[in-house]
Amino acid sequence: MANNNGILKILKNRELLVMAFLLIIFFSITSNRFLSPSNISNVLMNISVSGILALGLALVMINGDFDLSFGSALGLLNLFILMFVDKGWNVWVMFALAIVGGILWGMLNAILVVQIKIHAFVATIATWTMCRGFIYWINGGKTFYGKYPDFMTIIGRGTVFGYIPISSIIFIGAAIIVFLLANRSKFGRYIYAVGSNADAAEYVGINSKRIRFTSYLLQGLLIGLSTVILSSKLTSGPATAGDGFQMTVIASAFLGATVFKPGLVNIGGSILGILLLSIIENGLIMLGVPFYFKYIVQGLIIIGAVSFISLKNKRSEGPAIL
């Protein structure tokens, strides 16, 4: 009996982990390619772009804010890197500039949401749309192809010891840093505090505007970093680049809010969420299911996750977004 309780206690709030495990088993049985080294490597590479975006979105959502624009920001920055590399600019300089560009993007959203106080949904729908418009304007709706030096692909396609993608190492590094920042640093505690009760935060001397602003800047930095990996991998600039990540990343935040700190978006949950979603996405492809099923599954997962939270928890736990 005691043993039983022990297992239940371990499983408590770890539903996602169990689900991921079961799914991996399921896909391994139904598809013999799923566990092949090349496929694993492929999944890992995909996760590094969406995973870093998920880290950024989680930081913003813990505050009670939101962002819908990161997908098109990714597309625009990708185009920007490739166009200048084509003109002969140094790849590493462009990568650094893309990260700066990401931070500026975060600043734009922060000014609109935090300073001008436009609701995050409204502000970032606007920046999202505008940004996508710029991409179409710049490359006329076509995919941009340009010259690039061969070594440019090392970050996005390179591996060490044969199968470990360099991009995954970057993602794991970013995940560890953001996790420690959010869960163990004072800044991180302040982000959760602002998300939990922004008024109370002001009364203890936390400048909630500054915290929210900084979170958007950090998210921008992470958008920039994921663009670097994406450009290095794609080496082309489709007009729709970044769109595919949008819903996966948003779904990961909601799915992540069902574990560890139920009812609250949290970094650990988001990481697990993006892993799980990427596995599902890949598994469906391996099973030969048409790609559009991915959107149906993502929608169902968002509804499922949020229903789970709202049925399990009482309201007013944290940010209003859930």
């Binding site: 420690l180 163990r184 640093s185 004072k186 505690r189 302040y190 959760y192 505090a193 998300g195 939990s196 009760n197 008024d199 109370a200 935060a201 002001e202 009364y203 203890v204 001397g205 400048n207 700190k261 009812g263 609250l264 007013s316 736990e317 944290g318």
Partner: protein, 496 residues
């Protein structure tokens, strides 16, 4: 004396909110034509009781008998229809509508599919004539432009428009100027005599209840402590029933060692405040007292840097604080505990430990990464000193009772040296034990030469705790009462 008809009675009513038992095994009896006073401290369960009677809360167990029938209301609308109307402490009015529209909200007069505004004004006029509490009331004025007193009048007229058999009034005079309060009391007595209307009257002003009630029921911690009839009204006895102690024993001894001036605010002018100056000494509790909206909260929040003010200065330890802002004040050891702990104090998703350490994270834990072990150690130590009742320092703050939540908020600030503690109505809705703990902690701070600015909404509390009192009215300081001039008459004279 002939026995009167019992109009309503309750047997063994119980109502809990989570771990808080708001009403416990409560029996009361109201006879037709009574004006029954209902008194008790904040958190004694008075409001919960009337909300049960008025159908706003479901009861957990027990029985209500009304007009010889056992009833259980499905909604407040049903109770209202059957003749039980509540006049709430904070008027429940739609601010954008005018008085007449508010009075007939939910039972509008129509002509075809359109509202008949003329009729609603006419009917409201009739109502005002029938119940002349405040005949000059402008029925076409939007509620948002009305004074607190006018709003109260609209709320009462709204209740009377239902022709209630029992009228329940929850502190109707709390925000009224003295003359309006007196005319209201007169009208209530009139209504009772002429129309035999039964009433339940909640008030913190005991003199009022003596004036109009024929009996008074005392509640304490959710229980019915007893009832006095008008021939036995006695203030000391009543207070003793309310707090289970003589007043002199309930509050700790006042300060005997008042030192130099610690913090002063001089000539503060803001939207609400007009040329307000106050100061607090070492080892002193300074009370601020006034009606709701008189500006006490605005004053302390201005000092704390949360609200802007146009002119004036804040001086701490003889040095002017140039740009008062919360982190600056915290840096100087000047802390504010806000009035509404749920809205402005607690982090609901945090643990007890995280709620305690949040205010002083940077100074307590200089290293980059926080460690839960160290945090818990610090939090546990402070929790013990506060006499906090909790199961696990990592449990959710929401699982604690109101009093213990408030102690957590106090504990949060005492982790580091505190010079001035500003407390804004710290004992609202918390039990007597926690209240005494908080009083004790404040006096302990005093004995370490700390200064305290204490706002209270309870006159007994401010009299019991303060060494000196500033009374406020509409944004100005009306009087400064030294220790030997602190009494109820002097305070009431200056706030109304």
């Amino acid at each position: 004396m002939a026995t009167k008809e019992i109009i309503m009675s309750t047997t063994k009513l119980n109502k809990s909110f989570g771990v808080t038992h708001a009403v416990i095994n409560l029996d009361i009896t109201i006879e037709k034509g009574d004006i029954m006073g209902l008194v008790g401290e904040n958190g004694a369960g008075k409001s919960t009781l009337i909300k049960i009677l008025g159908g706003e809360y479901y009861l957990d167990s027990g029985q209500i008998t009304y007009q010889n029938k056992i009833i259980s209301w499905n909604s407040s609308a049903e109770a209202l229809k059957k003749g039980i109307a509540i006049v709430h402490q904070h008027p429940l009015l739609v601010f954008s509508l005018n008085a007449a529209e508010n009075i007939f909200l939910g039972k509008e007069f129509t002509q075809g599919i359109f509202l008949d505004e003329k009729k609603s004004i006419e009917e409201s006029k009739k109502l005002v004539k029938q119940y002349p509490i405040y005949p000059e009331l402008d029925l076409e004025k939007p509620v948002i432009e009305m004074s607190a007193g006018e709003k109260e009048v609209v709320e009462i007229l709204k209740a009377l428009s239902y022709n209630p058999k029992i009228l329940i009034l929850d502190e109707p005079t709390a925000s009224l100027p003295k003359d309006e309060a007196e005319s209201l009391l007169k009208l209530l007595v009139d209504l009772n005599r002429k129309k035999e209307m039964t009433m339940i009257y909640i008030s913190h002003k005991l003199e009022e209840t003596f004036e109009i009630c024929n009996k008074i029921t005392v509640m304490r911690n959710g229980e019915n402590i007893g009832m006095l009839t008008n021939e036995h009204f006695d203030k000391n006895k009543l207070v003793k029933m309310m707090i289970n102690q003589d007043i002199s024993e309930f509050y700790p001894e006042k300060s005997s060692q008042i030192g130099k001036v610690l913090l002063e605010a001089n000539h503060i002018n803001s939207k609400v405040l007009k040329d307000v100056s106050i100061h607090v000494h070492e080892g002193e509790i300074v009370g601020l007292y006034g009606l709701i909206g008189a500006g006490m909260t605005e004053l302390v929040e201005s000092i704390y840097g949360l609200q802007p003010f146009q002119s004036g200065e804040i001086i701490f330890n003889q040095k002017k604080i140039l740009h008062p802002h919360v982190d600056m004040m915290v840096h100087h050891g000047i802390y504010l505990i806000p009035a509404d702990r749920h809205q402005y104090g607690l982090f609901p998703s945090f643990s007890v430990s995280e709620n305690i350490t949040i205010a002083h994270l940077f100074s307590l834990f200089p290293e980059f990464l926080l460690t839960r072990y160290k945090e818990n150690q610090v939090a546990t130590k402070e929790a013990e000193q506060m006499n906090l009742k909790y199961a696990d320092i990592n449990q959710s703050i929401k699982e604690l009772s109101g009093g213990n939540q408030q102690k957590v908020i106090v504990a949060r600030w005492l982790l580091k040296e505190c010079n001035v503690l500003i407390v804004d109505d710290p004992t609202v809705g918390i039990d007597i034990g926690a209240k005494r703990d908080i009083y004790r902690i404040l006096r302990e701070l005093n004995s370490h030469h700390k200064g305290i600015i204490f706002i209270s909404s309870e006159i007994n509390e401010i009299i019991g705790m303060a060494d000196r009192i500033y009374t406020m009215r509409r944004g100005i300081i009306t009087a400064e009462l030294p220790k030997d001039e602190i009494n109820q008459e002097n305070i009431l004279k200056n706030i109304l």
